[in-house]
Symmetry: C3
Subunit: 343 residues, 3 copies
């Protein structure tokens, strides 16, 4: 058997480290495609000149593009036989990615817990994205429910990692040299600075995008994510292609420019849930809530913790969960992240 059947629950061992294929060199091509696929307008990622005025050597590749490149590589080893992508935690962006950088990924199994039905289990991995200098540029924990192949395989001793609910502000890594003291709010698109946002404030980002099959497939392939369910309309009984959750993340983040134009760099992913599936024809809109604020040691740079919620057509304003604590059916994504913003 030459093709990859993927790993099943019984194939994972605590402490195993999996080096993922295939390394990828990014260029201005990936940046241009990111801008074509999403209404991304963050000035720091759009203009080399703007990035230089903020102390960076050039405009980095979008943080979420870097995330997708790292994440996509893990799919054949981690989630090919996954039933569900359950959560993210302790994500940190450690180094910006620039055109010319080459990224690879590796994951360590840090938790295993078989389900009581004996047919599947939860696998926790700590994933690292690594650049051509051997530097970890991104790290995050993800857990997925994976099917068993041999139902008689013995259940492993359960190990559930103790994961931080939120990345502490002191643990946020501000890119070397970043300086927002001469930040140009006009060129960035909005006048609102860190001090203008209040914890608890909610922002409806207004704009919406109706998504197409061609677009989400282009995006998902660009990150070399190979999960059949995104590409093959004959795979699911209903003939629908499930849109990669990361496509919804990037779309919602890009839509959040309208109201959060200065939430420039994503530095941490505290958690996230893909609340409901998204399909071509859905119209994605987004809203945000300010969850927390923190200072950083970098000049002029504050940190803001945001909830980013993606919804589809029919959602009530700022809808999230029903009385019983379950996500409303129109909610696609509930993401919790830290971004850097000029003071």
């Amino acid at each position: 058997m030459k093709t990859n059947p993927g790993r099943f629950f019984e194939d994972y061992r605590i402490g195993d480290t999996i080096a993922h294929a295939v390394p990828r060199t990014v260029s201005g091509g990936e940046r241009a495609l990111y801008h074509a696929l999403y209404p991304a307008r963050g000035a720091l990622y759009s203009s080399d000149e703007f990035a230089r005025s903020c102390g960076l050597p050039a405009a980095p590749i979008d943080d979420l593009a870097a995330f997708h490149v790292v994440f996509g590589k893990t799919v054949p080893d981690i989630s090919l036989n996954a039933v569900a992508n359950l959560g993210y935690a302790e994500g940190r962006w450690l180094k910006p990615v620039y055109p010319g950088d080459t990224l690879r990924s590796e994951s360590t199994v840090i938790g295993l817990k078989e389900n009581s039905n004996g047919k599947s289990g939860v696998v926790y991995v700590g994933t690292r994205g690594i650049n051509q200098h051997g530097e970890t540029m991104l790290e995050y924990v993800r857990w997925v429910m994976v099917r068993k192949n041999r139902l008689d395989a013995p259940a492993p001793d359960p190990v559930v990692p103790d994961l931080a609910r939120v990345v502490r502000p002191e643990a946020l890594v501000v890119p070397e040299g970043l300086d927002f003291t001469r930040y140009d709010f006009t060129l960035a698109g909005e006048p609102h600075r860190w001090g203008d946002y209040a914890v608890g404030e909610q922002i409806d980002h207004v704009d919406g995008v109706t998504v197409e099959e061609a677009e989400h497939m282009l995006a998902t392939r660009l990150w070399q994510n190979t999960a059949k369910v995104h590409f093959d309309a004959t795979f699911r009984d209903d003939g629908k292609r499930l849109i990669y959750g990361g496509h919804v993340i990037s779309m919602a983040r890009a839509l959040s420019f309208n109201g959060l134009a200065n939430a420039q760099m994503i530095v941490a992913l505290n958690g996230g849930a893909h609340a409901n599936p998204c399909f071509a024809g859905d119209t994605i809109k987004a809203w945000s809530e300010v969850l927390d604020k923190a200072e950083t040691p970098a000049p002029g740079v504050g940190a803001i913790r945001l909830r980013l919620v993606a919804v589809k057509q029919g959602a009530a304003p700022f809808a999230l969960k029903g009385a019983e604590g379950k996500y409303a059916p129109e909610v696609l994504l509930d993401l919790d992240y830290w971004a850097l913003m000029p003071l």
Copy 2:
């Protein structure tokens, strides 16, 4: 309110200059996408070697891509609440754009005229695209009809700028170094030179492209044009997404290669009308008419003034306007521009 409500008619003042967000660095990625989105084949924009043989340092980014980048930035400030895009005039390309260049835009309000209904008015702006050296690389005048928000806002003193109907040949700016004396007609794709075109000549460009939702949205996002009507199928009552007029311009110009392969560089935009809306599923075809010809001081370089008409399925040959002077319903675009062509 953190999101951008856009400007209304009463928010504009004669003489105001608006610096538009977001600056953009272009790369080979934007060029590749332009070639994927449109059947663009101009040799000067396709091959560094060909461009060098014409005295340029490398192949520039397509002139219309440069236009779209500059134009897209103006949308949130100029046309977010526009009822209609009424016209263009006095457009001039002053510097080619190369991969690595960073573009920003600014507009000055040069005309204001409230409509007699008191609910809207016409805003005239002079827009400049500016590169990282502070050089203006593109300028044009555009006028749009914009809604009033406060209907009781007083009407401004009407100012209607005196706009040239055509950019005079002497005002055309030929890129520094451009020399068509060793122009390779074989590699460029057609043998027809400046002298082979006669004023009044009409050319049916034969080829057609049926447009898709995914394509026009990729294009429109690439230029960071954020107008909802292009992306959100729930926005209009008829559930249709209106295709960005610039997408039709680029499609028609690219189709015009077949018959005008040597009309290489666009140097002026004399005027233009988006005669009817375009929607996904429409099949765009194009025809051109030679309106004028002029000499230039550059070696081997002539100028040709062209009408470029985009039509959709069902159009009669060379259809433009009906007896009453109204555009035929199949006409999408009527554009008047100057291009440079080898003598």
Copy 3:
């Protein structure tokens, strides 16, 4: 008549060489688009670092992207009035293509045979892709059936070239410096080396992609292939746009990563048939068969000859031809090529 009517059968002469327009400089943009359009994961084409560890200066542009660039240029001169694309032979990749390279194409007419109906004939051309250094980087023979325009044009003396059924292993050109002795199978995605494949072995590549109109048009335009039938839904009586055969080739080759991840470089095209047309909505899957194996003089580098078959929904496992020797209706492509693989 300024537009290109294309050549008809009677317009070709044995020995004529046609220089094709338009030269094209490729960049990281074309690479990124190739990865977005196809699930391409070959490590050598994805990572500069991986390519360097194999003795190349950087990651080349995918071999099939290079093929499409060269092929696309020939369409206006060779196949604009073609009734059918009949075959390929003696294809050899002679030099890898890197970002920054500029490619042009030329074809020599090597065979002509009028059909007995007197309405069309078969044209054989030897096509060469040439880089900016004047080096031939790709060569192949193609033959197409082309309509006559003047039915009374005399039939030429028939010349049918004697074409090799298979490129001999000794004629394969291994890129200068290629060395697979330190090949990293983990980063490449699969452990299977040249010695693990047996002649006669068949591999079902498992994954499938349902194709969309927007995608195949983006791809076909990217290669500056202008054949109307791919773009204009009003052109065929059935309102369908025929998908460029090269799109199917690239899709199938990319799908074959799953099972042939280490069949890294395509060095020869022995033959190929577009067995049935492909339309948007079809779900493409692929299987391969090992036809032959050979050694090469390069360190650690073996050659493997593969049949690559693309099929659509409804195909039986490893379906190819029926009893009467005709391709099964679900077979889209039957391609025969040589690739390089680590020993």
